[in-house]
Subunit: 139 residues, 2 copies
Amino acid sequence: MEEAILNILKRNQLSVTGSRQRILELFLGQQGALAHGDIEKRTGEKFDRVTVYRTLQVFLNKGIIHTIPTTDNSIRYALCKDDCEEGHHHDNHVHFVCEQCENTVCLDEVTIPEISLPKGYEARQVEVIVSGICPACKR
Amino acid sequence: MEEAILNILKRNQLSVTGSRQRILELFLGQQGALAHGDIEKRTGEKFDRVTVYRTLQVFLNKGIIHTIPTTDNSIRYALCKDDCEEGHHHDNHVHFVCEQCENTVCLDEVTIPEISLPKGYEARQVEVIVSGICPACKR
DNA sequence: AATAAGATGCAACTTTGTTGCAAAATATTT
DNA sequence: AAATATTTTGCAACAAAGTTGCATCTTATT
């Protein structure tokens, strides 16, 4: 785990600092997505608000994390799989948002079906967000 | 057009006021989606910021418009088709965001394919956002 | 160990969204 | 058509979210 964090930072030529380690730790410590607010809350005592913003920005640029579209105007971030590169992500997996516990998870095993667009439209990326009830909240 | 606006308001038992007419006019005047910022800019001289927020909120509740998920932390709204009711929308269509002109349109004719989730997940709603190049920007 | 490069915290600020309340506009009743 | 009740609006004040410049400290490099 500790190992994994250093790996990610090294691989992306980032200097290893406290906030970067801590935030990566959060992502690795759970397999869902994190809202900006969550991250800020869970690091707020140790790091400045501004640092959190800047760290997430760096991770986004490097393709370490990606954003998940939401309707409620709260950005959510999730770790990218290893095959994302700077600039270009291929996170062609489905995101699931639980209406009950509000958790967001990446369903890596579910592939996005082909979607045929009207003439003239050229698809570059497809995002699928399924909302409903997750197994944990089911009963 | 003028007619259509009054229809929508009457059908939803809303009193017809300046801001409601103007905002509906914006939606009817173009077939894409509008970001909150757009709406505010194009009505700002006539109506208060707060009124715009409240009007959009009312339209959402009544099912006149719906939100479109975005990654950039800016809510976008689009008109619902007639078959949306208060509370429940069936906007099971695909949204297309052009990377060039930043326009968002609802592709009503494209239906969302069936997505099979892992055991235990129960889908209630599926959102599909395709980004790429739109016909107008194509060449 | 010394230096260069980069990250952080602070303060100040902008933008975005919210709430309470009085005034104004719309709808309803007579 | 006037009077009343109901809604909606604008204002002010505030809360929350996000940004920027700069001095200081930390990490990496030599």
